[in-house]
Amino acid sequence: MTVFERSVAGRRGFKLPESTVPFEKKDLPEHLVRAKKPRLPQLSEVDVVRHYTELASKNYSVDKGFYPLGSCTMKYNPKLNEFLASLEGFTEIHPYQPIDSIQGALELMYNLKQALCEITGMDEMTLQPAAGAHGELTGMLIVRAYHLSRNDAKRTVALVPDSAHGTNPASAAMAGFEVVELKSTKDGLLDVEELKKHLSDRVAVLMLTNPNTLGLFEKDILEISKLVHEAGALLYYDGANLNAIMGRFRPGDMGFDVVHLNLHKTFSAPHGMGGPGSGPVGVKQFLARFLPVPLVRKSEDGSYYPDYDLPESIGRMRSFYGNFTVLVKAYAYILTMGEDGLKHASEMAVLNANYLRKLLSRYFKIASERTCMHEFVVDGSEFVKKTGVRILDVAKRLLDYGVHAPTVYFPLIVHEAMMIEPTETENKQTLDQFAEIMGKIVEEAIKDPGLVKSAPHNTPVKRLDDVTATKNPVYRYQ
C-alpha cells in the first residue's frame, strides 16, 4: 500500500507550538498564492511509522546479511559512527556561522583531509564532492584547468580503459573531454601497447582504477605512469576501490596526480540506499591551486578557516562545505582503525576475496587467473552456455537464499560477469555458506533450470517486469 492510499483527509501527524504572530496575506498578489493544495498524504504519527516500518522490512541491508556487490564495498557500518555523526554540535550548525564558532567542524575536516592525504600519498585535498562521480568530475575539471593554465588547449582527450566504471567516461565527458576507450588485455589489465598507441599531445589524462574493476592490481603501473607523464598527460586515480591497498600502496607514490575516494566505501560510511556519500579529491601540490573553494586550512595561530582565496580554482562543485556528517563518520572510522587497522582491513579484504574466489572456482570460471585484490569477477559464459540459465537468474536465485546478489553484467568486458566483493568485515563462515549456496544453485541450474529462471520465489515480490516499466513508464502515484 502506498503512503497516499493510507491517507485520510483531515488526519494529522503534527502539532506546532502556539503561533505568536498571526498570518495575514500581506504583500502576496493573489495569482502567486497557491490555489490547490499539494496532494501530500494526511496521516497520524503511527500511520507514518508503520508505513515506513513496512517498507524497511522489504529491504535487504548490510545489517541483515552478506552483500557481496562488487565495486560497492558493502562493509559493516559501525554504530559508533552513526552516533557521533548525529551529535548536535555537528547537525545543528549553520554553514554561515562565524568561523570561530565552527572550529570543531573545520578541525575535523582538516584532520580528515590530512589523514586521507597520508593514506593516498597526495599533497592537498578537497572534501567538497558529494560522491565518487562528483569527485571524478572535480578531478577532471582540475586536469582541464591545469592544461589550460599552461595554454595547452589541444589536450582534449581522456583515455579510459574499457573496464572502467561507467562514471569515468561520463565524468570525463561532462568535463568536456573527448573519451577514447582503451581495450584491456585478455587478462583484464591495461594494455601497455594499446596505451602507447593512443598517447599523443592531444591526450590530457589517463583515468585508471587500481585495483581495476576486475579486482586486479595494474602490475605495470610504474611503466604506465612513466609513459603517461612523458607524453605530457596526467594520471588520474579512481580510488573508489581503495579498500584493497591501504597501508600497502599509495597512489601518490606511484605517480598519480589526481585521486578521488569514496568515503562511503572504504571508509565505512553507510550507503543509505544510494547516498549520501562523499568523494574527496586529492591532488599533487602542483594542482592544488585548481581545487574547488573553499579549502579548509590551518592558520599559524592554530585556528582553522575556509580559504576562498584560490584565484585559479575551478570554482564550487556544490553549495557549502560538502557532506559534512558523512565526513564525521569517515573520520571516526580512521581514528578507530588507525594505521594498523586500516592496513589490516585491506589485507583481510584481499584475503576474503581470494578465499571466496578459490571456493567459487569449483563451480565457475574466474575471469582472471591472477591473484585478485578486494574483489574478483566470475565469467559465467560457460555456465550460461551449459545450462541455459542466465547470470541474472543466478543473482535472483541468490535472493531466495537470503543473501544479496553480486554485481552482474559488469565490468562490461567480461561476458555474463558476476563481480564479487566480500569486504573484510565478513567472516569465514559467511563465505563458506555463500560458496555452498552457489554450489547448490549451480546444481539447481542443471537439474531444475526452471526453478532458477523464475527466481526469486521467497522475496516480498516476485521477479519484476522492468521492460514494461521503462516502455510504459509510471513516474508517480496517480
Binding site: 502567486l32 524497511a56 558529494a130 588507525g338 517486469d465
Partner: protein, 443 residues
C-alpha cells in the same frame, strides 16, 4: 584485534592454506611494495574516539533555534522526532542502491512516493529520485537545458543564490556555455525588461529562483511570458511551495531546489538533497535515477529503476549525467517529513514563516531600518545596515543570535545590506529580543 574485523589467527591461517599461499604478503605479489608505514596513530577504542570526536562537536557553537535569523540556503525548522527515528533505520541506512529490486522494495517504493510528492509540490510531471544538493541540481538543469535545445546562452538571474551560480559555472566549464547575469529591479525581482533585452537566438535558458536569494517572490507568470520558448528553470524553496502557486502552474520546464527544509537539520550545509522535476517530454534528457511502477510475475504492484539507458552504467560517455550515488536517504527523510506534516502542516509552516518574517521586517522598519526592496517576500528579506554591520553581527552572535547575514560576504556590491530570515521556529519574543540587542549593539 579489531571489533569490525572477524578474522582469528587460526582462520587466517586456514584461509591462506585453502588459497594455497603462505602469507598475506603473497596476496600482494602484483603490488610494488614501496609504502613505508603510514604516518597515522594506531587504532583507538570507541570510547576514546567518542571522547575525541565529542570534544570537536563541543567546539562548535549551537545557536538556540528561535534565535536563528539566517537562512540563505539552509533553514532551521522544527523536525519531529519520528523523522529521525524512521530515517535512521538500519534497513534504510545500510542498504545500497536498489540494484536487486525484489529485495529493495522498501527503497524503491519510498523513492517512488518521494518523486510523487516532489511532483505535487512543484506542479511538475516527473521527478527523479534525488541529486546531491540544490546547487548541483541547478547545474545539471542548465546542462539539461543545453541538451534540450543545443543553445549556449544562459540568462541567469542575479537573484539566484551565488553559490548556486558558481556551481553552474564550474559544471559548465567543459561546455561552451555563457552566463548572462540579469540584475534585479527595485522591487528585488529579476528585471524582466533587462531579461527581454538579452534574449536572442543563442539563448538557451532562463534561470530564476523562487523565492529569490533576496527573499522576493518572483512573478513566474510574467517570467514565463518574457522567457518565450527558452527553457525556464526555476530554483524553488520547497516549504514556500505550499503557500505559493507552484512553478509548474506557470509553465516552468525544470524545477530544482534543495530539500533541506523538509526535515533535514542544517548539518553544517551537508548532506542535504537536491530535487529535480521536469515535464514528461524531457524525461529522457533528465539526469539521475528514476523509479517507476511495474508488476511482478504474479501481477502484484512493485517498483524498479527505469530509463537506465540514459545513465552512465550503460551509456557511459553519452549519459545524461555522471551521477551514480545520489542522496536517497535524504530524499527518504523528505518523504517522511512530508508524510507527517501533510499539506496542512506544510502550509502552516509556510504561513508562520511568512508571518514571522513580515513581523520582523515591520519591527525593523519601526526601529528605523529600511527594507532594500519593495517586492513581496516569503521568509527572507534584505534590509539596509551600516557599513560595519559585520561587527554588530559578531556581537549579536556572542549574545546568542545568528543574526541576519551580512550580504557583503556574497558580493562586494551588496555592502551595507543584510539578509534576514524567519521560520516557524522564531517567536515574537525572540524577534523582540533580537531587536533589543541590535538596538543596544548599534548604539
Amino acid at each position: 584485534m579489531f571489533p569490525y574485523i572477524p578474522h582469528t589467527e587460526q582462520e587466517i591461517h586456514e584461509m591462506l592454506k585453502t588459497i594455497g599461499l603462505e602469507s598475506i604478503d603473497d596476496l600482494y605479489r602484483d603490488v610494488p611494495m614501496t609504502v613505508r608505514r603510514l604516518n597515522l596513530p594506531k587504532g583507538l577504542d570507541e570510547f576514546t574516539v567518542t571522547r575525541m570526536v565529542k570534544q570537536l562537536a563541543e567546539k562548535n557553537v549551537v545557536v538556540e533555534k528561535e534565535k536563528v535569523f539566517a537562512g540563505a540556503g539552509i533553514y532551521v525548522h522544527h523536525i519531529p522526532c519520528a523523522v529521525k527515528a524512521i530515517a535512521s533505520k538500519p534497513e534504510f541506512v545500510t542498504a545500497y542502491t536498489p540494484y536487486q529490486a525484489e529485495v529493495s522494495q522498501g527503497t524503491l517504493q519510498a523513492l517512488f512516493e518521494y518523486q510523487t510528492m516532489i511532483c505535487e509540490l512543484t506542479g511538475m510531471e516527473v521527478a527523479n529520485s534525488s541529486m546531491y544538493d540544490g546547487a548541483s541540481a541547478l547545474a545539471e538543469a542548465v546542462l539539461m537545458a543545453h541538451r534540450i535545445n543545443g543553445r549556449t546562452k544562459v540568462l541567469m538571474s542575479e537573484a539566484v543564490h551565488p553559490e548556486y551560480v558558481q556551481t553552474c559555472k564550474t559544471y559548465a566549464r567543459g561546455f561552451d556555455l555563457q552566463f548572462v547575469p540579469i540584475a534585479v529591479d527595485e522591487s528585488g525581482s529579476t528585471d524582466l525588461k533587462l531579461l527581454a533585452n538579452f534574449i536572442d537566438a543563442e539563448s538557451c535558458a532562463v534561470v530564476v529562483q523562487q523565492p529569490n536569494f533576496f527573499g522576493i517572490v518572483e512573478d513566474l507568470k510574467r517570467v514565463r511570458e518574457v522567457a518565450k520558448d527558452l527553457v525556464l528553470i526555476v530554483v524553488a524553496e520547497p516549504i514556500s511551495l505550499s503557500l505559493l502557486e507552484p512553478p509548474g502552474s506557470f509553465g516552468a520546464d525544470i524545477v530544482v531546489g534543495d530539500g533541506q527544509p523538509l526535515g533535514i537539520p542544517p548539518n553544517f550545509g551537508g548532506p542535504t538533497v537536491g530535487f529535480f522535476a521536469t515535464l514528461e517530454k524531457y524525461v529522457r534528457k533528465m539526469p539521475g535515477r528514476i523509479i517507476g511502477q511495474t508488476k511482478d510475475a504474479e501481477g502484484r504492484t512493485g517498483y524498479v529503476m527505469i530509463l537506465q539507458t540514459r545513465e552512465q552504467h550503460i551509456r557511459r560517455e553519452k549519459a545524461t549525467s555522471n551521477i551514480c550515488t545520489n542522496h536517497a536517504l535524504m530524499a527518504l527523510t523528505n518523504a517522511v517529513y512530508m508524510s507527517l506534516m501533510g499539506p496542512e502542516g506544510l502550509r502552516e509552516i509556510a504561513e508562520r514563516s511568512y508571518a514571522n518574517a513580515h513581523y520582523l521586517a515591520q519591527r525593523l522598519e519601526e526601529k528605523g531600518f529600511k527594507l532594500k526592496f519593495k517586492g513581496p517576500f516569503f521568509n527572507e528579506f534584505v534590509f539596509v545596515v551600516n557599513e560595519d554591520y559585520e561587527k554588530l553581527w559578531r556581537a549579536l552572535f556572542n549574545e546568542g543570535f545568528l543574526a541576519p547575514l551580512p550580504l557583503a560576504w556574497f558580493d562586494g556590491r551588496y555592502r551595507a545590506l543584510a539578509l534576514a530570515c524567519a521560520t516557524e521556529v522564531n517567536t515574537k519574543e525572540s524577534i523582540e529580543q533580537l531587536l533589543n540587542v541590535m538596538e543596544r549593539g548599534s548604539k
